[in-house]
Symmetry: C2
Subunit: 303 residues, 2 copies
Amino acid sequence: MTNTKSFTGVLSPVLTPFAPDLSPDTERFVSHCRWLLEQGVSGLAVFGTTSEANSLSVGERMQLLDALVAEGISPDLLMPGTGCCSLTDTVQLTSHAVQNGCGGVLLLPPFYYKAVNEDGLFAHIAEVIERVDDDRLRIYLYHFPAIAVVCYSLDLIERLIKVYPSIVIGLKDSSGDWSNTESVLKQFPGLDVFPGSEVFLLPAMRAGGAGCITATANVNAAAIRNLYDRWQTPEAEMLQGDVSSLRKMIDGYPMIPALKQIIAHFRSDPSWCALRPPLVALSDAQVQSLLADLEQKKFALAA
Amino acid sequence: MTNTKSFTGVLSPVLTPFAPDLSPDTERFVSHCRWLLEQGVSGLAVFGTTSEANSLSVGERMQLLDALVAEGISPDLLMPGTGCCSLTDTVQLTSHAVQNGCGGVLLLPPFYYKAVNEDGLFAHIAEVIERVDDDRLRIYLYHFPAIAVVCYSLDLIERLIKVYPSIVIGLKDSSGDWSNTESVLKQFPGLDVFPGSEVFLLPAMRAGGAGCITATANVNAAAIRNLYDRWQTPEAEMLQGDVSSLRKMIDGYPMIPALKQIIAHFRSDPSWCALRPPLVALSDAQVQSLLADLEQKKFALAA
């Protein structure tokens, strides 16, 4: 059975809430995923950078995914991050995702060794694909130079989609560099390209993009979805301006602590502030400043 | 029971041999560890960068460590790398090492998130120490800016040894920057400091260092150990020149593939060349060139 549906629209890389002992808080996680779907996200990119996924063990990630599926979230809507430094970890997580019927996986390159040559990166991803050995596998490459350092270059993307055209079908570009996104869109028109920020949603759609996968969907999904739905209308520029304005404001703070703080505040649920180290909560001064900034804005969570 | 012995001398970050299916080759691993000890290394820094440890799963690392102990390698001599991106992985590996009686652990900082603040790095390591909760724990900080990117700054080292003076007792400096090693040695005279290359062994010993932890010990341990033993003799400069010369030659190649190639060649055991992607074997031209370069040199493995 081959999965023929691919993702489009606005996906949220889902924040991972933690209990006071820093174990993943499954109940709040499932409930947040449900809320995001109600807000109009077309997919849940669980276990991304925003999710502190690399601060979790492989077992913790699999348990959370199992819980989502057990709670009735359609696996079609899930695009878990599965790319680890270790070949065996990546294979285990990717197989687990496919066996659960996930619509796709978001794949970081192996990110420990730096300055590795592209033959090695290609060999790693090829090995993952061969070992998972399932024609339902759909890979979205996760390009995030500032954090992963190891990158998907245009050459590497080209090699991968040439050899695995029905498997390597998309890319999330978290470079924050529109010229890179534009190059990928131009060079690979068949690839489903998602910029990693809604700031680029309208330009991406105009250039043939598939949508966006953006951290701030955790707090502003409805407005970003509205922009996606209306990108060909006369209001598009205005809607883009609105979502960009909120995004740029939040970008003035450490993103993950800020998003957790916003959710904690508007849900009156301080437990949402918990982060796994090395991430740290906002300082009191940052919280004050963030909340004051937010008063100027309208967005989904505050509505 | 408190472990009072700390490491000094020459430690080898042990290469991990792989079977054709890229699973760890336990038999060759144990046998290589035994050979390194016969060659005079005073400790085995298994599961470091040289070991492709971040290309292994947590389970694979624990199985290899269990095998070493089961095969009678004294755990006192083991300094496994246990620092992962994930808090829970690091705690699991560190606890496992301590429970096996390992002399210490070599701790990478959590290396996924970049530009994290030092409070977060401190909190991560503090959390690991509190969770392992065993007074036998001995931590050697693993500073490797080119690969881990996330660093142990002088300020962070100071905070850690102030709060955990009997636990955070050493540091491996793989910066390749002698001025950094010198600063650490000067500022923290009680810390056991190991440069990450034998090129700095003599200057380190003269400045109060504890020895070195160096990848090339995998092929040249006896000579490096000889320099360590005789660092206060008139021959020290000459011995330093010899080991540095070999090291600098090997530094002209990708280190891990080159070391595996050297072992494969001199043991007539081509299976030693296997690497997990993203690392790749030397090209034929590189192999020819490396072997030609080696003909000019005398070193332990060739003897």
